[in-house]
């Protein structure tokens, strides 16, 4: 269900874009910010609220990898797997994260605390390897550093 607050935020976005279609991405992000992810029912509701066909909303909602279409954990880890980070042994960090959390890429820990996802270049290649946890960027990663970082996300 879209909350009143969601609707206000989407309305504000509509005022900024010349077309209703243009407000779609932001509207989906509004939902994701509140609920953590975007369900099929959310897509239908966002489309109805914007007066767009469901198929248009679904197209956009499935195109962007950062619009989550499955339930995610309390915290989302995005580990960069692009060239610079890879050169700096990001793959070893992936192995570490996997064993530490007991999940594979695309999975969520049983306690619902972390979801582990790959990410294309996060724009911090000079400080690689890097990862994002929720909105925070963490650079110059090592296995020990990762362990410490994870502690700070309850």
């Amino acid at each position: 269900m879209l909350t009143d607050h969601d609707k206000q935020e989407i309305q504000a976005e509509l005022a900024r874009t010349p077309s209703r279609r243009g407000a779609l991405i932001e509207a989906l992000r509004v939902v994701q910010r509140r609920a953590g992810w975007v369900s099929n029912a959310d897509v239908v509701e966002v489309a109805a609220f914007l007066g767009l066909p469901v198929s248009q909303a679904e197209d956009v909602a499935t195109f962007y990898s950062m619009i989550f279409r499955q339930e995610v954990g309390r915290h989302v880890i995005l580990l960069c797997d692009s060239v610079s980070c890879w050169v700096n042994r990001a793959d070893a960090l992936l192995t570490h994260l996997r064993s530490r959390l007991g999940i594979r890429l695309g999975q969520t820990t049983a306690d619902g605390r972390f979801t582990l996802l790959p990410a294309a270049c996060l724009g911090a290649c000079d400080r690689g390897p890097v990862m994002k946890v929720d909105e925070d960027l963490h650079t110059h990663l090592t296995a020990e550093k990762i362990d410490r970082i994870l502690e700070s996300y309850p």
């Binding site: 066909p53 469901v54 198929s55 679904e58 499935t62 990898s65």
Partner: protein, 901 residues
């Protein structure tokens, strides 16, 4: 502009095309996927790569996408350049990574553009060792099959379905190697143009579900140039036949009419030809009221004796060919020829014809090129679907032209134009009695009763030209809207007014005529477009005759005692009480038709008529264009063309061949002057040979009938046309009107249509089929006086007809797929009246109308104006009503429903 291709010089007559179009028009086989002659270029597939060289000295050149490149003066192009070839082969190899190698079980096989291009591009060996990505398919309803694994991501489907045809339920989901073309969830496709996906998709993702049930490869289908019989637009088709049944219908290109597309009614309505209701024998009513088979000779002898009183009346048909109507009129004499129409419908048909004689009518191509539209009353998506598709293009025409000029974007550059135009629409004014599927094109659709719509039209005409009569007592809102519409139409380069008879209002036609006349005074580009209810409504109107009330009068006053009814179910055209009276008053009734219906049930003698699939004939479409439709297969005796039955009954007339009756028609009336020259004469030959209806790869010719006789039967003779029911004949491309299918070397799919055109999307080689036979007068058109809205009956609610693309047409509902999509009877109310009556959506209500009481579920539709209700028109399960008419709706306990007699 001169360009060089493979070092040969060519002069481009039209430099506004792209390089791919130029190459194809010049006969070079450049492979492509995402470009489409109407959907134009987006540069998505990279298959159309060619090499372009700066000048003669440039030996390296560079690879460009020909569909995204404008030709330039002196440009040097190579299609066969080694690097370009290798590039194209790699693109195919890459596209084929995920494509299943399932051609033998794929319905597209044998007419697949992907197969053709793969062979053309020379990719023959798979090197990839990795698993292919797979998808889950969707059930898309009864018409279109979905097999997503075959997708090559060319985006044509969604560009046609959503961008071009305005469909809302198909999109593209996902990204990178996981894109998915389909609906958000499984379910029947909503667009009435969904079947075009089958032709637009270059591979076997979208295929014809009706064909699947009786599958036949293209090379095994016997085909002929035909004309759609399911509405008045006359779209050109290729029906295909095998083993004695019709298997499918494909689009036959006509530049002025349907272009590259068909609607789903036209594509899937064909199965009535295979219906178990087909009448295959002459039938005579017995003492016990049952019909018993009689031989053709016996039937003719009986018919002659029934006609011997000399007091016979003939009822022509808006769905029979010109030939059959003419033969009937000749048999009974012109003064005894009538139209099977109720008074009101008859009046509308006469008015429409008189407008055709006054104004140059717009072809569908003209429609799509208009820059401002006033759509007055006609729900075209349901009554003339391809017109709706053309109007959708007209709605974006003005902003596209403006953006193209402003930003210097070539017309073919679809990607850039779409981005520039976004959701902008040109002037599009829509006035209707209820919701329509074009509502999204209009800023604010105007809803009102037919009389008020007409008043708006008259007011627009008056605002355009003060000499046109004014409308007294127009509500201020309508007056203000009329001014706005007039101003917009006046300033448009190519304004268009669209209307038609389906609202049942003659005033509406007059209003549209006034607008056209007023616009025409200052703008010769202004056009009028009118729909026609059936495939030969205009042809029938050209053969004048009275209406059904006149028929009853003649039967009652003793001037007639015998009726001969040609291909029409009178119960669909007039109130059942009137039709019952006619049948009771007639001493003898002879009916010629192809399907058993309520009218054949009243006949004493029934003669089996050939359908369009088994007969050649002429149909006149809504704009007065006469077109020939050729038999796909010979009729199986005793079934024959209606005109042959009628000729057999006519003393002193002998028309053994089609040409003979055409010659008689040509001299009978100025209107029919040209009917003999609509296509090549029967003795036309290509290098001494006939044109084969069967492809040269047609298989199983001997095996097909081996269970009856191992000797192969001689092909049926066709004395009527230059086509042959055989695979023997000329391998050359025949002239436009005779093309039986699109095929040419390397182009097995219908994409090869450009091999039959003078240039891509241009006229057909050897002439476009058909000809407009109604010359509008050169006199300046006068004005009609506004008539106050007349409505029959009393009651608080004005009932108007709601037409349904699936369900309102007589023949197509005998196709299982169409029947599945047709609505159940209902009555639609606006929210105001529903609230007042305490009716909820879906609640049973009682409708009292024209002396009948019906129990129907209610639908509540926002767009129905207060005081009005809509009743589905011409549904098989509802009786005929002459609408608009007044009646009432109540929530009372439902009475027993009344059905057809």
């Amino acid at each position: 502009m001169k360009i060089y291709i493979e070092n040969r010089r060519f002069d481009l007559t039209d430099p506004s095309v792209n390089l791919l179009e130029a190459c194809l028009s010049l006969g070079f086989d450049v492979p492509y996927f995402c470009w489409h002659p109407v959907l134009r270029s987006v540069g998505a597939c990279r298959q159309c790569a060619v090499k372009v060289f700066k000048d003669e000295a440039d030996t390296r050149g560079r690879i460009v996408m020909s569909c995204m490149t404008a030709p330039a003066e002196g440009m040097r192009v190579s299609v066969n350049d080694d690097e370009a070839r290798e590039f194209r082969a790699k693109v195919i190899e890459w596209l084929m990574l995920n494509h299943p190698h399932d051609c033998p079980i794929c319905d597209e096989g044998g007419e697949c553009h992907l197969q053709d291009v793969t062979v053309m591009a020379g990719h023959v060996r798979r090197q990839s060792r990795f698993p292919k990505r797979t998808h889950r398919n969707q059930d898309l309803g009864p018409l279109v099959n979905h097999e997503m694994n075959r997708c090559i991501q060319c985006y044509r489907c969604v560009r046609f379905y959503a961008d071009y045809a305005g469909g809302r339920d198909v999109g593209v989901q996902g990204c990178h190697d996981g894109v998915y073309f389909g609906r958000p969830s499984p379910g029947p496709l909503e667009s009435e143009f969904s079947g075009n996906l089958v032709e637009v998709c270059p591979t076997g993702v979208f295929t014809d579900k009706s064909l699947k049930r009786h599958y036949t490869r293209k090379w095994d289908l016997q085909t002929a140039p035909s004309v759609c019989v399911h509405c008045g637009l006359g779209c050109n088709t290729f029906p295909g036949q095998r083993y004695g049944t019709l298997r499918r219908v494909r689009t036959r290109y006509h530049r002025e009419v349907n272009g590259y597309f068909l609607c789903d009614r036209g594509r899937y309505g064909y199965e009535f030809v295979n219906s178990p209701r087909r009448i295959l024998q002459a039938l005579l009513r017995q003492g016990d009221n049952a019909l018993a088979q009689v031989s053709a000779e016996e039937a003719i002898r009986l018919a002659k004796s029934l006609l011997s009183s000399g007091k016979c009346i003939g009822l022509g048909s808006p769905r029979a060919t010109l030939e059959s109507n003419f033969a009937l009129r000749t048999l009974v004499s012109p003064s005894r020829f009538f139209h099977p129409l109720a008074v009101s419908q008859h009046l509308l048909s006469g008015s429409s014809l008189s407008l055709l004689r006054r104004f140059p009518l717009a072809s569908l191509r003209d429609v799509s090129q208009s820059t401002a539209v006033f759509l007055l009353g006609e729900d075209v998506s349901n009554t003339a679907p391809l017109l709706a598709l053309a109007l959708r293009q007209a709605a974006v025409r003005a902003p596209r032209l403006a953006k193209a000029a402003l930003l210097k974007i070539p017309a073919w550059h679809e990607a850039a134009l779409r981005t520039a135009v976004q959701e902008e629409k040109g002037p599009f004014f829509l006035a209707a009695t209820g919701p329509t599927r074009l509502d999204d094109l209009a800023a604010a659709p105007y809803r009102a009763a037919p009389g008020d719509l007409a008043a708006l039209g008259f007011a627009v005409a008056h605002a355009l030209d003060p000499a046109a009569p004014a409308v007294p007592n127009l509500p201020p809102a309508a007056a203000e809207l009329a001014e706005r519409i007039a101003a917009s139409l006046k300033s448009a380069a190519a304004p268009l007014i669209v209307s038609g008879p389906s609202c049942g209002s003659e005033a509406l036609l007059h209003a549209a005529a006034n607008v056209a006349a007023a616009l025409g005074k200052t703008n010769p580009q202004a056009r009028l477009c009118l729909t026609a209810p059936e495939c030969n409504s205009v042809g029938l109107a050209l053969l004048p005759g009275g209406n059904l009330a006149d028929v009853l009068r003649a039967l009652r006053d003793g001037s007639a005692d015998t009726l001969i009814v040609l291909e029409s179910d009178l119960y669909r055209h007039a109130d059942a009480a009137l039709v019952d009276e006619i049948f009771t008053a007639a001493k003898h009734v002879i009916v010629i038709d192809s399907l058993a219906n309520a009218t054949t049930a009243r006949a004493e003698l029934v003669l089996p008529a050939a359908t369009f699939a088994e007969s050649s004939g002429t149909l006149v479409n809504n704009e007065g264009r006469a077109q020939r439709s050729y038999a796909v297969c010979p009729p199986k005796a005793p079934v024959q063309e209606s005109w042959r039955w009628l000729t057999a009954l006519t003393p002193n007339v002998s028309w053994p061949r089609w040409e003979d009756i055409l010659a008689a028609m040509a001299v009978s009336s100025g209107d029919f002057r040209d009917v003999t020259t609509l296509g090549p004469a029967a003795d036309f030959r290509l290098v001494g040979q006939k044109i084969p209806r069967q492809p040269h790869r047609y298989s199983g010719r001997t095996a097909m009938t081996a269970h009856i006789d191992v000797r192969e039967p001689a092909p049926a003779a066709d004395l009527d046309t230059p086509l042959a029911f055989s695979m023997e004949g000329s391998p050359l491309n025949p002239p436009g009107p005779l093309i039986p299918r699109y095929w040419s070397p390397r182009w097995n799919s219908d994409q090869g249509v450009h091999k039959f055109q003078i240039e891509v999307a241009g006229p057909l080689q050897g002439g476009d089929p058909g000809k407009r036979i109604i010359e509008p007068s050169s006199e300046p058109a006068g004005y009609f006086a506004p008539t106050p809205p007349a409505s029959e009956g009393d009651g608080e609610i004005l009932f108007t007809p709601a037409w349904h693309v699936f369900g309102s047409e007589e023949l197509s509902v005998h196709s299982p797929g169409i029947a599945e999509l047709a609505p159940r009877p209902y009555v639609a109310l606006g929210p105001v009246d529903a609230g007042r009556l305490g009716v909820r959506d879906g609640a049973p209500v009682t409708v009292t109308l024209a002396g009948r009481t019906l129990a129907l579920p209610a639908r509540i539709l926002e767009a129905i104006p207060p005081g009005a209700a809509a009743l589905p028109a011409a549904l098989a399960d509802l009786p005929f009503f002459s609408l608009p008419a007044r009646g009432s709706v109540s929530l009372a306990a439902p009475a027993a429903p009344e059905g057809r007699p």
